[in-house]
Symmetry: C2
Subunit: 109 residues, 2 copies
Amino acid sequence: MGKQVTEMLKGTLEGIVLAILSGRPAYGYEITAWLRDQGFSDIAEGTIYALLIRIEQRGLVDVEKVPSEKGPPRKVYSLNAEGRAYLEEFWRTWSFLSERLEQLREGGN
Amino acid sequence: MGKQVTEMLKGTLEGIVLAILSGRPAYGYEITAWLRDQGFSDIAEGTIYALLIRIEQRGLVDVEKVPSEKGPPRKVYSLNAEGRAYLEEFWRTWSFLSERLEQLREGGN
DNA sequence: CCCAGCTATTCAGCATTGCTATGTACCGGT
DNA sequence: ACCGGTACATAGCAATGCTGAATAGCTGGG
């Protein structure tokens, strides 16, 4: 889409991935493909992998290596308790920002 | 509030400021104070000034120096035509992201 | 007069995050 | 053997917000 999305994704992409993982465990390649399907047309491969490594190092997810029939082994990530807590915090932050922006949008015109 | 807000503001703060300016002209100090009032408790002084200079250099706003009764002269910014177009684009981008996140939020639980 | 405090702006250096580009590796079909 | 799809990793870059300090004008108290 453009540069605006890229900048807006900073800070939200992490939450998006955590939200995906809260529904079901998933691996990087799968998440990237799914996001592109959803219209995030220019999310880069590397971005998701780097993000997954980051949240793993912060202890928000558990990882399991699972062999694949179609290629190299997958690193399947699943949200743990700490990750769930962090995700809730993310939703609170998102709500706050979202409300402020809706107010501005209405008042601004 | 915390680091989450900081990262989420990347990409949205610019739109927020443009939205404020779409309602009325304003200057940096005023905008910072208003944002803090709205709950953006840890927005730094310097951040807004840097952002204003950026959007000025991109030609999204017009600037006028206005003497103040209480201190040094103010730099009053107002949104021009290009800024309005950019703001509309921002709202479209925001809507896209917002919709995806609401979907995730509902489906995720 | 001088200093503290509020108003108002600017700037250098840093941390975080997403993108680009590239490399590695496993597998099946031809 | 080779190619395309699957799957992950990484080094370097750009954009953005924060930290901390400096500059400057104005007003009121001591």
